[in-house]
């Protein structure tokens, strides 16, 4: 069943970043400036928030089993979905791929020893932790019931929950994102190894470059917006409250100016992961490299110009609505370009069925559904019906969970041997990928129908005619939970018992695979020099494959 070459028995390197010490024990981790260790610090904290958000999600789905609400009071339910959103979006999805995989891989992929500002990198993590503590304090002392969107004047005047600490926490956390973005941009500009030209960069790096632009340009806006909402709450300043002369719609403009592009912060890195996995497991150069790279930048740029499509029914001007609808359709094109190029890459490939590939193809499936249903919401005439219904909930979960999380988990499977030096159980992880895919669709597909039937979102109770689809969704969620728990378990198991992977188990073409697994602290013993084009298997005898003549003959030759 295995399609990779039989892995020879490897030994772990004697010295690597995991056992190198700069001091003693825990201090060597908390004071580290090694991007790889910081990535693991992020891995532990984002996993914690994923777990917290996941518990809230579980309670939501149990509650919605019956029309009257099976589990909690309305107040508690409203807090559950709010805290689920805040924990997942600000503290899991936004940092997940960039701060874990990006942090670990970008320097290695471009042949650098670390990020440009290692100390600032550590600072980002501490800022994240401090912001996270404020938010957890809010969750623990009264909770938060404003919706993750914090719409005013509900959040700034009427809510009785702990809004202020949450808003301060998200404000602080924003700086973590900004500093990470800054670090990535400077690193990619200045620290590429000899021969690593812009068009030899892995597409993962291109995707993170685009993501970093959004982080730097967008995050300050949401930070200041939430701060204004907090000031209005604390000191009764009239920014958004109409009773004080403010305008609640202004808040929505400011909030979505960041929070729509934030979706691209979540999904662009996942697209980057998939753009690495597909050529590796099809063993051929990616089709349309420059179009995939360019589409990342296009998504980041156009993504800044579509925010008011969240506001078609607020009474905004018809002309504004038409403009934003048009621009929203434009942003669909670069996403479609990526999907067509990934699919074309498979053509005449040598496709293995290794777990990362299953995740990547699952990503494409879910992202296609998520992206296409965006066309319904961008459509003005349809949005007046499906806005703020479960259709929206289903759509953004397909993008952010189906897309971003599937990409993240797939990326972990791809680079886990590099991060830990060990392999995980292959058949079990392939099974987990299928469980995740099926569970996800069962959970969220019924919600499209619920939404079109008219079930509004954020309802703790609903008319009985919606029950069948809600029960279906909750049933799917239990399968989905299994799909997330399985990797957590076997990843933990593999850290101790997994088979030693060796430097390049798949094998893949990127620079990060040209060093030991786990890598040494300085990543490379000698600064590598890049003489090959990205994802090229034909001129890479060092990979130990039957490289050479690009004819179909060798594919049949030596079974």
């Amino acid at each position: 069943m295995s399609n990779t070459p039989p892995t020879p028995d490897h030994k772990l390197p004697d010295d690597h970043y995991l056992n190198a010490t700069y001091g003693d024990g825990i201090r060597s981790w908390l004071l580290t400036t090694d991007h790889k260790r910081i990535a693991l610090l992020y891995l532990s904290t984002v996993t914690t928030f994923f777990f917290i958000g996941g518990v809230f999600a579980t309670m939501i789905r149990i509650h919605l089993l019956t029309p009257g609400g099976a589990l909690v009071t309305p107040e508690t339910y409203n807090k559950l979905f709010t805290m689920h959103g805040v924990a997942m979006i600000f503290f899991f999805l936004i940092p997940s791929i960039p701060a874990v995989l990006g942090n670990f891989l970008i320097p290695m992929m471009i042949g650098a020893k670390d990020l440009a500002f290692p100390k600032i990198n550590l600072l980002s993590w501490y800022i994240y932790v401090i912001g996270g503590c404020f938010v957890l304090y809010s969750f623990g002392t009264g909770g938060l019931d404003t919706g993750w969107t914090f719409y005013t004047p509900l959040s700034s005047v009427y809510s009785n929950s702990a809004v202020t600490p949450a808003v301060i926490g998200i404000f602080i956390n924003g700086f973590s994102s900004i500093l990470t973005g800054l670090n990535f941009i400077v690193t990619i500009h200045t620290m590429r190894a000899p021969g690593m030209t812009w068009f030899r960069l892995p597409l993962f790096v291109w995707a993170h470059y685009a993501t970093s632009l959004v982080m730097i340009l967008g995050t300050p806006v949401v930070a200041i917006t939430l701060l204004l909402a907090g000031l209005e709450r604390m000191f009764h300043l009239g920014f958004f409250n109409p009773a004080l002369g403010g305008d609640p719609i202004l808040f929505q403009h400011l909030f979505w100016f960041y929070s729509h592009p934030a979706v691209y912060i979540m999904v662009l890195p996942a697209m980057g992961v998939v753009s690495e996995i597909i050529p590796t497991f099809a063993r051929k150069p990616i089709f349309g490299y420059s179009f995939i790279a360019g589409s990342s930048i296009a998504i980041a740029v156009i993504g800044f110009l579509v925010w008011a499509h969240h506001m078609f029914v607020t009474g905004e001007s018809t002309y504004a609505a038409i403009t934003f609808s048009f621009l929203s359709y434009l942003v669909a094109i670069p996403s479609a370009v990526k999907v067509f190029n990934w699919t074309s890459t498979l053509y005449k490939g040598s496709i293995s069925w290794d777990p990362p590939m299953i995740y990547a193809l699952g990503f494409i499936g879910l992202f296609v559904i998520g992206g296409l249903t965006g066309l319904f919401l961008a459509c003005l005439g349809l949005d007046i019906h499906i806005h703020d219904t479960y259709f929206v909930v289903a759509h953004f979960h397909y993008i952010m969970v189906g897309g971003a999380v599937m990409g993240y988990v797939g990326g972990l499977h791809f680079w886990w041997p590099k991060i830990t030096g060990r392999l995980y159980p292959e058949a079990l992880s392939r099974f987990a990928a299928v469980v995740l895919f099926i569970g996800f669709n069962l959970t969220f597909f019924p919600q499209f129908i619920l939404g079109y039937l008219g079930m509004p979102r954020r309802y703790h109770t609903y008319p009985p005619e919606f029950q069948v689809l809600n029960v279906l969704s909750s049933a799917g969620a239990s399968i989905l939970a299994l799909g997330y728990l399985l990797p957590m378990i076997y990843f933990a198991w593999s850290m101790r018992y997994g088979k030693v992977a060796g430097p390049n188990p798949w094998p893949a073409t990127g620079l990060e695979w040209k060093t030991a697994s786990p890598p040494p602290t300085e990543n490379f013993e000698l600064t590598p020099e890049v003489t090959w084009e990205p994802y090229d298997y034909n001129n890479r005898p060092d990979l130990g494959l039957s490289a050479g003549a690009p004819s179909p003959a060798p594919a049949r030759g030596d079974d």
Binding site: Y158, S290, T318, I322, Y347, A378, C379, H385, P456, R457
Partner: protein, 327 residues
């Protein structure tokens, strides 16, 4: 008609068939693309499954023409979806002239609807079939949203703004309406029923139920005196403020030379923030009533001012733009 698992709710307004047809159109395009991608991936996945452990794929060079095709074709289809959606939206946002106006106020966590004769309903809305209905929406506190799935329309109810929405019910019956913008603890139970009736039934219902309810014009006239509006806004145009006779619906000439149509939003703004738009020839003397009137009081005053539409307009001191302006 409705099966156990319906795909769309009942169609009960002029918009519903259009929205559903558009939904099916977009669904068709999406299914086409999703199926194409899925079939391609599944086919390649099996057909090009790795034959030997060290086999590699066959490189295929980039093809700009192919890239152009799969940019331009989706773009054309996207423009078709966009245009159709925009047509429906413009229709929805462009209220026809001959509407039956009903005022709807949202507050945590209930809806109050006020029929033209002043009868107030709570979490119920009765409308005649076949008439163009315009809802004027106001909020007492946070943002709400009035959503009728069977009509395929919704509109946010924003504090500090008047939003309007319109629809023409096409089928008698009772249909859910919901609050669709999260508004706090009891958001999920802030809903009710729209009852669409035959016009004769509606008329009978209205005359049966209007007994005892305060007529908004009467209430507004009383407020007009209580709040001392009457001391300046003299009907004969000799007061310190313009006469309001005939003003509603007319064009008003402002101090900066521009004109504005005196609709609900203008009346509301002029009560709450009188200095925002000063009528030509008058001084900014009027006190602001921001925060001093409930939404219902504003509606009553508006109804009273509206009722002055048919009163004789004084030759001087009305504020109405002379007919030399644009027609």
């Amino acid at each position: 008609m409705q099966s156990q698992l319906p795909i769309y709710p009942e169609q009960a307004s002029n918009f519903a068939p259009h929205v559903d047809a558009l939904m099916l159109f977009i669904t068709g395009i999406c299914v086409f693309f999703a199926a194409g991608v899925t079939i391609a991936i599944v086919t390649f996945f099996f057909k090009y499954h790795r034959k030997s452990p060290d086999a590699i794929g066959i490189p295929i060079s980039e093809d700009s023409r192919l890239e152009m095709v799969w940019m331009v074709v989706p773009l054309i289809l996207a423009l078709a979806m966009f245009s159709w959606g925009a047509v429906i939206y413009v229709d929805y946002r462009h209220t026809p002239k001959d509407t039956l106006d009903i005022y709807v106020i949202g507050k945590q966590w209930m809806w109050k609807a006020q029929q033209p004769n002043g009868f107030k309903e709570i979490n119920e809305l009765h409308v005649p079939v076949g008439r163009n209905i315009r809802l004027v929406l106001a909020s007492e506190d946070v943002i709400h949203d009035f959503f009728v799935p069977a009509f395929r329309v919704k509109m946010d109810v924003v504090p500090g703004h008047y939003n309007t929405m319109w629809f023409r019910p096409t089928k008698p019956g009772r249909y859910h309406f919901f609050c669709s913008q999260y508004c706090g603890t009891n958001h999920a139970i802030m809903g009710g029923w729209v009852t669409v009736m035959e016009p004769s039934d509606y008329a009978a219902w209205l005359s049966d139920s209007s007994g005892g309810s305060a007529n908004p014009v009467v209430a507004g006239e009383r407020l007009f005196a209580e709040k001392a509006c009457i001391t300046c806004h003299l009907a004969n145009g000799t007061g310190r403020a313009p006469s309001l006779n005939g003003m509603y619906g007319a064009e008003v000439l402002l101090a900066d030379g521009s004109t504005v149509v005196a609709d609900e939003a203008y009346v509301r703004e002029s009560i709450l923030q009188p200095n925002a738009k000063i009528v030509a020839g008058y001084l900014p003397l009027m006190p602001a009533f921001q925060g001093q009137l409930t939404e219902e009081q504003i509606l009553a005053l508006t109804a009273y001012i509206k009722s002055l539409q048919s009163q004789p307009v004084p030759a001087k001191g009305s504020g109405i733009a002379p007919p030399t302006g644009k027609k």
